[in-house]
Amino acid sequence: MMIKGSNPAGQGSIKRKAMIWFALVFCAFMLGAYQLNQGAKIQSDILAMLPEIHEEALTQVALERVESQLADRVYIALQASSEAQAIDSAQLLLTQLRTDKNVFTDVKSGDIDSVRALNQFYFPHRFSLLTANQQTLIENKQLARLEANALAQLYNAFGYANSELISQDPLLLYPDTLKAMAPTQKVKVAQGILVSTTHNDLGQSYYSAIVMAKGVGSAFNPQSQQQQINKLTESIAVVRAQLPTGVELKVLKAGALFHASAATLQAKKEVSSLGLASLIGVIALVWWAFRSMMPLLIASLTIATSLLFAVVATLSLFGELHLLTLVFGTSLIGIAIDFSFHFYCERLEQADSSASVAVTKVFPAATLALITTVLAYSAIGMTPFPGMQQVAIFCAAGLIGAYITLVLAYPFIANSRLPHRPLPLRLAQQYLDKIAVLSQQGNTSWWRTGLLGIALVTALGLSQLQTDDDIRNLQQSPNDVVSQEAQLRLLLSGGTDNQFILVRAPNAQALLQQLEAIKPTLNKLTQDGVIGNAINLANYLPSQTTQATNYRLQGEIYHNIDHILAKMGLAPELASDLRQQYQQAAALTITPEAFFNSPAGQLFSPLWLPASNQERDFGAIVLLGGISNIDTLQQALATTSSVQLVDKVADISHVMAKYRSLTLWLLLLSLLIAWGIFSMRFGVRLALYVTAVPATSALLTLGLLGLFGSGLTLFHALALILVFGIGVDYSLFFAEAKQGRAVMMAVFMSACSTLLAFGLLAFSQTPAIHYFGLTLLLGIGCTFLLSPFVHNFIRTHK
């Protein structure tokens, strides 16, 4: 292989190499600029990074329907102690939000026109509509009960009975069928505004006027997110400015926008606080070690080249760069910076030689590290997981960038002399000497204790290690956002959850019958509190069979209409007209086509999935809200194959689990690959020692995570892969070194800078980043402590 060290070259060769490096960087830069110009973008939607879940065609259509209904919607409640105030404020907010059609569309509250449309649609079909209770009463010949109910309504001056309605529906059956369509309503429409009334503990009433809107851009797109937040803030400020003095208005907000915005704010805050801390730390460290800013400058140049290659390679292959790839991928700075530190520590060791000499010294270990890590990352890139492919490509390309900078550019650009400074090297030597004493053969008792300790901690930790793949735990929004959403949910009778039921059948009527068949199950689940509510099309669009039954049952009323009118004291002249209305309605039925094309049914059309060229079956979505126990729900529905609970959150969590375990296996595979490569250079036995450092670090890190009770996620696993890369680096440099102290110093510098840059992420409030940082913190800490032993083993066993 190529691991043999290039000869120190003459000036001409050095310049030529530097030119090649510059040309490569220039090309990469132009390629990157071209791609960004072509519309390559930074992707910040967390879901885009996850593997594509291949759902069956109808399920996929259903998921897209539900997502397009739920996505990018915002819900605002304006709460005041006076109803008029709440309504006025909501009307003003509606006007304000409608001023810019590029920010929000579909801005609405309660809509009277659609109410009218619903009523106009259903009323002509009243002879084919009955509630379950009405059906039972008529079947059991208990018409007297229906008459008594109607009579009670007639006596109620504040009820809905009027001459117009009675002359078309003498037993007032129709109002009850409407009521059955909306069993519990916490909201009403007043002056075109949805209003919900609540009472506090003191019995005071609060009125919440609700406004809904759909964001034009995605809530995860930083630009449209900012626009939407700004528009809302301005509009609410206008509403507040119009309030009479002394009137209090409370604003509740809900929607993905507010979660996304809180996450952005949090990230910005952390980038500035954690980023500043690590920057200051690294500068201080370099200054302390070298008394020169030159190494920092060269290290920054290396990292910049590395990032440039990484970004350009990722954009070329994927057309976009995920924000999380950027966050995780930048950890490769930890590896890239190693090259600079090893180079500079070598120069400090041999102050009189040129940069070319130092590069030659570092070359074998750097090359071996590059090959091993790139190979390991390629293995990760084989997984069908867009996010991990990106991380792998990003890291591999970034390392190549850093490597060619070291080999091609350093001899030219990093040739200036360092001030004489023996202190750090002396300290490094003292540390190595201590390690040497500890690992001497004679010192077996300490050695045993140490190994036993590590083994014990690892075993204990691993036994307590648990996994946590629920993606909901990765998104922890601030309490304020969560509590506002919970309050709004309460106002809107539970809202709608991301899980839904998909029902399928070979044709439309069979589907409606299937939907009717699950009604009792859903009712029972609602009664038991397993779900809060369900929106089933069967309640709004009865099957032809049910309509025919209802029509036949109502015949009991209209065939005896004279008798009934007389009993209720109604005018006998109504009879002939009523009989005629009933007969004329015989052929009148609600068909799915007519329903979904009517203004009334349009509201429900997203729930209906007709058969198409791609899909032979008809499908219907049953939306669910307030799910309290998903397992019970799953069990209750498991009886038929045509009814399926679609739970994308669970599917994604499941995939996360799969890739977490896959990543850990890949880590094992990477270790084996590394061992194989090392064996070619060091022989099997020594290679085992070199590989033992990253392997033990990984195990110990897992053990410590277990002890800390941090449930293992994909993000822990991803960080372990980086720990592996850095661990390979450290132990290789020690293995290659003849004089250990320069390596010791470089490893110390590298570990400190990496911990400063990424260990600090452990203090992040964003769970995914916190997990990542914590794992790096523990992993690099372990690697740093373990790797010097390699130096000793190699020396004693070579």
């Binding site: 739920l70 819900y75 007639l154 001056a157 809905y160 002056q191 005018a571 509201l603």
Partner: protein, 231 residues
């Protein structure tokens, strides 16, 4: 992840639109009243005259004139009002039934004395009409006219001791169900007239209104837990 979708919100509103088929056809006798916008000073005076304290109770006779009825429906009963509790509307003849409206609940009592309590919160749209009664009562028995102005356009006619207050709901849905209301009286409230479409009309005559405090038994009607109080 979480999203809300008040999809069925609008369905509840349907109950209101039941009267949408009707064409306006008003009883002409109140045209004079509904052309007289009430001004604040007049309302203030009326409010002072009517203010009769925290409690009111009395009996009523209700006449329902509907075009489809062979003869008007006449019913009798008692009403109880307490400003902290709400309103109980208890029909005794021709059959017993009741409607109790409190801050948070609506209690319906059927002819067998069964009480059905529904949280007002859970069916706000359907109960909105019923909730108009306590608003009216509070306004008239307590002389609190201001809350009425936020829900109705007000009209006033006065002739000596006689006064007529006309109300037109502001909310279009309520207005469709109940286009116009007329209250009339002298020292006390005497009549409430509800004018519907197609000449449908309800008249409620109040008698023997007193400000006697409610008895323990009467207060029982307002408790949503007590089963079957005495008729």
């Amino acid at each position: 992840m979480a999203s809300l979708l008040p999809r069925t919100c609008l369905i509840g509103v349907l109950l209101f639109s039941l009267s949408l088929f009707s064409h306006a056809n008003q009883s002409p006798s109140y045209d004079a009243l509904f052309s007289q916008n009430a001004d604040n000073a007049q309302l203030q005076t009326l409010a002072q005259r009517l203010n009769s304290g925290e409690t009111a109770q009395g009996s009523f006779t209700q006449y329902r004139y509907l075009k489809v009825l062979k003869k008007p429906l006449v019913s009798h009963g008692q009403f109880l009002f307490q400003n902290q509790q709400g309103l109980a509307w208890l029909q005794t003849r021709p059959f017993a039934s009741g409607l109790v409206l409190t801050q948070g609940a609506l209690i319906q009592i059927d002819s067998d004395g069964n009480r059905q309590v529904s949280q007002a919160q859970n069916n706000q749209q359907a109960n909105a009409l019923a909730q108009m009664m306590p608003t009216l009562m509070n306004g008239l028995l307590q002389g609190e006219i201001a809350p009425l102005t936020s829900q109705f356009s007000l009209f006033l006619l006065q002739e000596g001791q006689q006064w007529q207050l006309g109300l037109v709901p502001l909310d279009p849905l309520i207005k469709q169900a109940m286009p116009k209301l007329v209250l009339q009286g002298e020292q006390q409230l005497q009549q409430l007239i509800l004018l519907g479409h197609n000449g449908d009309r309800s008249e409620i005559h109040f008698e023997q209104i007193t400000n006697q405090p409610l008895t323990e038994q009467q207060l029982n009607y307002f408790s949503s837990v007590t089963p079957k109080p005495a008729q």
